[in-house]
Symmetry: C2
């Protein structure tokens, strides 16, 4: 029991955050990653494959989120196969990313203060 915290110890706080409405998840890290993959690959089919989920499952998740927030997140590429993020979709992703970063920054500060005090 002599493992008191030393400078250089890598104690870290980790977190997941997600959004719910009426008890149902409608956005979190999984959907964030799926939408990033759609933007990167230009295809819902390839994005679903890359995430190891079915096309139907990926489609269902995105439609549920769009329904709840009342905005489209993805749209067909004009004159092409495939999908891309809508302007709102990009904004929503940026907002979630910024929300996540701000909470994590707060959590890191708050937990460092706690660990310095008690460990």
């Amino acid at each position: 029991m002599n493992k008191k915290r030393q400078p250089g110890d890598t104690h870290e706080i980790k977190m997941h955050v997600w959004l719910e409405k009426d008890g149902g998840v409608y956005f979190g890290q999984g959907r964030y990653d799926l939408l990033m993959k759609i933007e990167e690959l230009g295809s819902l089919k390839l994005a679903a494959e890359a995430m190891g989920i079915s096309y139907r499952g990926a489609w269902g998740k995105i439609k549920k989120t769009e329904e709840i927030i009342g905005e489209k997140l993805i749209e067909k590429e004009s004159n092409k196969e495939g999908y891309k993020l809508t302007v709102f979709g990009k904004k929503f992703m940026d907002e979630f990313n910024s929300l996540h970063s701000d909470i994590l920054e707060f959590a890191v500060k708050r937990s460092s203060e706690m660990m310095s005090r008690i460990l």
Copy 2:
């Protein structure tokens, strides 16, 4: 697509937070709940059962946490069977609870601000 956010809509942010050292989880909601059950039931065996995990698994988790933080979290009741939280164990639980509350409070404010702005 006419489900724009209304007053009274129950959009909520949810989160899990946990602590890691060198990439290994050593404390989170599961261990918090397990320790609460030990304090409530005065028994590691009954607490493990209540959590649906094995005695050995529960013991291993607590020993790992104690090893990493360098303090005992539970101790034998004097002259009795069973376990209770140590003074440090209670303090650590209070600190984690307070850490969790503060982060959640920040997350709720930050996400409300985001939702009011974009939904």
